[in-house]
């Protein structure tokens, strides 16, 4: 019991390796631009040990950071002078650590500030506008923008209940083809007909060429378009298909 509550606490404290690092820097009152890397590395590893002993879930992220620390530590041991190729510009290996750490601290402090803002539905509330206090007849309303997540959520609900035979192909490529069909339909709505070649103009990537071609094939299959070739010139022309 005692251990599990401790468990939760520590998990809260060290969300990730950056958090642990920040804790160590603060605890030792370290100048962030002059981190005693040996000390910090030792303490970091010590903390990992402790977390393991407490049977906390030490994720891979913590180990990656441990490796980075040890690497920086070993690079620090090589005297800068030996780096004669670029002995002047020899960079402090600790910079690899300092830059992300500074960035992390800045954003962490921004998050702190955000948490002090009066949050809607925590500190401040809006009126739940009920029609009975307005007595207005509401007819046709324009649409409110919808979150994409709601759309995906709706689709996932459907798929959960659908049988396997209605399997839907929604890989990235399939979506690209759909997008291209939509674009081609728009072109045809505007211009009624277009040459085959034109549709490939400006599509330089191999993928786009293939996607365009697949889109045309799919549209032919669905009879969304008709394709004709001129006998003399050989030019292939595509027509909107609602004949």
């Amino acid at each position: 019991m005692g251990q599990s509550s401790y468990n939760v606490q520590l998990g809260e404290v060290f969300e990730g390796p950056m958090d642990l690092l920040v804790y160590l820097v603060k605890k030792n009152d370290i100048d962030i631009y002059d981190i005693p890397i040996a000390v910090v590395t030792e303490q970091y590893l010590g903390c990992l040990e402790l977390m393991k002993e407490l049977s906390l879930d030490v994720s891979g992220d913590f180990l990656v950071m441990a490796a980075t620390l040890m690497q920086i530590k070993s690079r620090m041991l090589i005297p800068a002078a030996q780096d004669n190729e670029e002995d002047e510009g020899a960079e402090d290996p600790r910079m690899d650590l300092v830059q992300p750490l500074v960035e992390y601290l800045r954003l962490k402090s921004a998050a702190e500030q955000l948490s002090h803002i009066s949050l809607l539905d925590r500190d401040t509330f809006v009126r739940d506008v009920k029609e009975d206090s307005i007595e207005a007849d509401v007819t046709f309303k324009p649409l409110r923008p919808v979150g994409l997540f709601e759309l995906i959520d709706a689709f996932q609900r459907i798929l959960k209940n659908a049988s396997k035979e209605h399997f839907v192909d929604i890989t990235k490529d399939a979506i690209s083809v759909r997008q291209r069909i939509s674009e081609l339909m728009e072109i045809l709505e505007e211009r009624k007909n277009v040459t085959f070649q034109e549709l490939f103009l400006g599509k330089h990537s191999k993928k786009m060429l293939i996607v365009t071609f697949l889109a045309i094939l799919e549209m032919i299959k669905l009879r969304l378009i008709r394709v004709m070739q001129h006998i003399d010139s050989g030019i292939i022309r595509i027509y909107a298909g609602q004949s």
């Binding site: 509330f125 809006v126 009126r127 739940d128 009920k130 206090s133 307005i134 007595e135 207005a136 007849d137 509401v138 007819t139 046709f140 309303k141 324009p142 649409l143 409110r144 923008p145 919808v146 979150g147 994409l148 709601e150 759309l151 995906i152 709706a154 689709f155 996932q156 609900r157 459907i158 798929l159 209940n161 659908a162 209605h166 839907v168 929604i170 890989t171 990235k172 979506i175 690209s176 759909r178 997008q179 069909i181 939509s182 339909m185 728009e186 799919e218 549209m219 669905l222 009879r223 969304l224 378009i225 909107a240 298909g241 609602q242």
Partner: protein
């Protein structure tokens, strides 16, 4: 607390779903007399009246509620008619299927949803979220549907290929299941 009693009562009436009765207020505030509450309510009502605000505190159905003034009724109706509506769950589901499966037949959509969707198709067409892309070469030449440019606008998408794949969404779900619940 006496000093802030007035704004507290005001804020409570403001957020309440229904007219708030003196009894309810008494129970909420604990230790404040009925008469005190009554006095404050009278005071507030008079204030909103004399100051000619856009809404007033009114006694309705045994409680107190803020309501717009009848003289601004036409303005309110105008706003309400121009304010955006939300898509129903059924409409969203239908739209999702069309977005991911287009070009698609109505029968295919109905098969997946397991219900007749004629009414919803009509609404989505009226709202310019879907469109007829053409007719399929099948008996009866059924119409093939797809989404519109307006659809992209409503969902804040650059193009259809920005639609997340289901795989991508599942990825989000898989990682860190323990934390996602608490956060």
């Amino acid at each position: 607390m006496l000093d802030s009693l007035r704004p507290i009562i005001e804020s409570l009436i403001f957020v309440a779903d229904e007219p708030l009765s003196i009894k309810q207020l008494e129970a909420m505030l604990g230790g404040v007399s009925r008469q005190q509450i009554k006095d404050i309510l009278q005071q507030l009502m008079a204030e909103y009246e004399t100051e000619k605000r856009g809404f007033a505190l009114q006694e309705v159905a045994g409680g107190y509620q803020f309501r717009t003034r009848p003289e601004y009724r036409d303005w309110v109706i105008k706003l309400k008619q121009s304010s955006p509506a939300k898509l129903s769950r059924a409409a969203l589901e239908t739209l999702a299927i069309i977005a991911y499966k287009q070009p698609v037949l109505r029968t295919d959509v109905e098969h997946l949803r397991g219900v007749d969707s004629g009414g919803i198709f009509k609404t989505l067409l009226e709202r310019d979220l879907i469109r007829v892309m053409g007719r399929k070469d099948l008996p009866g030449r059924p119409m093939v549907y797809g989404t519109t440019r307006r659809f992209l606008e409503v969902f804040g998408l650059k193009d259809l290929s920005s639609l997340p794949t289901l795989g991508e969404m599942e990825q989000l779900e898989e990682s860190w299941p323990s934390v996602s619940k608490s956060s």
